[in-house]
């Protein structure tokens, strides 16, 4: 009797939690469906050319998302390149090298960065970063300012300003996850490395190698956040829908154009085109996440396949 009730409880517990998990999946599917139906007009009118064309003209009813896709991927990738090494460096310092008395306040402070609302970053960007970027551009020597990467008038509001703000915003995410991952690597790993006569750097490398899938996951988490960031980016990016390689050119992102134009979009086609941008962003986020999952999965599998060959590779699962 007693066993029966327990198993009934177990079952209902399992069903309830299962329903929660399933609900989340259904929610994602629901979002995809709503985004598709709400952008039907634009999808049927422009088809795949929506991804490739660059004209965004609400008056003429012509919509192409390429400049926004470009701006989003360019700024996020650049942010990732800036933030990734710094965040991993912070994580290594905090988990491996930092003296105990400093660790807690420092961890607290880096995580505090994540708690600052993005509009505050935007304001800071406008008042501090944008003038800095402008004076940086003005101080470039002539031969550099003619390179495609640095051309354009010195506005200050630019791709570079947006990427810098983004990188500061994603550092706390990446570094705190990477730190947790590193801390989850058993101390015995490092001790073993020391026992074999490793230096501190070599022992750290062992821990890093063990944690690499988790660290990769942490970096991708930051990337995902950068893709969707809206407010801070739109405030410092100049909001110009034009594809350019220049770091100093004003550009536009997908999230920013949705936020900016949705409220005042009157024509149905305009509205549908904006929702389709949302759909594109959704698809890109899915692809990025699936891609990084696959990469992590491959890395883990490789590791499992050759545990005996490389003695320094620990079979420990990463925390992420």
């Amino acid at each position: 009797m007693k066993r029966n009730t327990t198993s009934a409880g177990d079952r209902s517990f399992r069903y309830t939690t299962g329903a929660f998990a399933l609900g989340l999946v259904l929610l994602v599917v629901g979002i995809a469906i709503v985004l598709s139906t709400e952008s039907a007009l634009s999808i049927s009118k422009f088809g795949l050319s929506f991804w490739r064309t660059s004209v965004w003209d609400p008056v003429a009813g012509e919509f192409g998302a390429f400049p926004f896709i470009w701006g989003t991927l360019y700024s996020s990738t650049l942010a990732l390149l800036i933030a990734g090494p710094i965040a991993i460096g912070i994580a290594i310092f905090l988990s491996e090298l930092c003296p105990d008395w400093l660790r807690t306040p420092l961890t607290f402070l880096t995580e505090l960065l994540a708690a600052i609302p993005s509009i505050v970053y935007g304001l800071w960007g406008i008042f501090v970063l944008v003038p800095l970027v402008r004076s940086l551009q003005l101080s470039l020597p002539e031969w550099m300012s003619n390179m495609p990467l640095f051309t354009g008038p010195p506005y200050g509001v630019s791709l570079l300003a947006a990427s810098l703000v983004l990188s500061i915003m994603i550092i706390p995410y990446t570094s705190s996850v990477a730190r947790e991952v590193l801390r989850a690597i058993p101390a015995s790993q490092r001790e073993a490395a020391y026992a074999l006569g490793s230096t501190r750097w070599e022992a750290t490398k062992v821990a890093l190698f063990a944690a690499r899938t988790g660290i990769f996951g942490a970096v991708m988490l930051g990337f995902g956040r950068a893709l969707g960031e809206t407010m801070a980016v739109t405030m410092v990016m100049g909001n110009r829908a034009e594809v350019s390689w220049s770091l100093f050119a004003p550009q536009y992102t997908m999230a920013a154009v949705i936020a900016n134009e949705f409220k005042e979009a009157v024509e149905d086609l305009h509205l549908h085109a904006l929702v389709e941008i949302g759909l594109v962003l959704f698809v890109i986020t899915l692809v990025v996440n699936t891609g990084s999952r696959l990469l992590i999965w491959r890395m883990t599998r490789e590791r499992r396949q050759m545990p005996r060959v490389t003695a320094t590779v620990p079979p420990a699962e990463s925390a992420a």
Binding site: W56, V59, Y155, N239, R240, Y252, V266
Partner: protein
Amino acid sequence: MTMKLFSLRGWRLAAAGACVIALGAGVAAQKQQITGAGATFPYPIYSKWFSEYNKLHPDIEINYQSQGSGAGIRQITNQTVFFGATDGPMTDDQKLAAPGPILHFPTVLGAVVPIFNLPGVSAELKFTGPLLADIFLGKITRWNHADIAAANPGVALPSTAIAVVHRAEGSGTTYIWVDYLSKVSPEWKKRVGVANSVNWPVGLGGQGNEGVAGLVKQTPGALGYVELIYAAQNSISFGAVQNSSGTFVKASVAATTAAGASAAKPCGGGVKIDCMPADFRVSNTNAAGPGAYPIASFTWLLFYESPKNKVHGKTMVDFLKWALTDGQKFAAELGYAPLPPAVVQLEMEALKKIKVQQ
């Protein structure tokens, strides 16, 4: 209404309400909540009006969500709000999409002014319409261009590059600005056109009046546009613009009302320009008259000609009568220009078209 009272107030009030209705006194004793949505540009004056009107009629509560003109038009079309508000009149297509005829009522006028940041130049610059259009088309790129110099004799203009700044988000302010540019420049009309957000040939996008003003302030050589109210409240200096009578006019509340006066005569008898069409869907930029500031426009409230809820309809008609007369005195202090009396008269006449409970 009685049904609503049953659920909201309990039986005692319902019984009281039933008694009142039975006595034939009806409407007055019931608390009314009316919702509208739309343009952000007139939000300060609308919220002032609704709160003042509530002081006069404590049983009437009008809620307004300033979500943008686009949202206002969409919501009244879908009948999710009782009334809408917009900075650009609805197009014929938009009107056809609504389940019933929608009427426009101008409430106040607003103006948009050019602001600039030109180090070394302290004079207040003058602009002509075609000049502004050419700058925003990217055809004039330096401040010492001959056309700018011609409009500003005696001002030493530097060769600084012009950085055009516009609104990043869709906005009624943009609508007024580009509506003006398309009237003074055939090329603008053809290449860019008029809407709340357009495909800008050049320039940077700033968010809101404050974003545009901030970018202009920070960028040497910048030229942008903001609402007159915003420039006035933040003491940002702005340029004068030449109107269609050939006078350079600096924007002010009086100059904006003067612009509205050119739309005071009803259209008809062959007159199509500088007059008021019967449905009030007038584009009032580039108005004539010596004191008229050319980048000025009405902002509108939208109502169904035959509202579903006749009681609310009556209330809003009464409110509008008040707003167009007594309410106008609140406009100037908030930076809006009051309507010319002739326009008010036309509207009072048109209000009779709304089918309400008498």
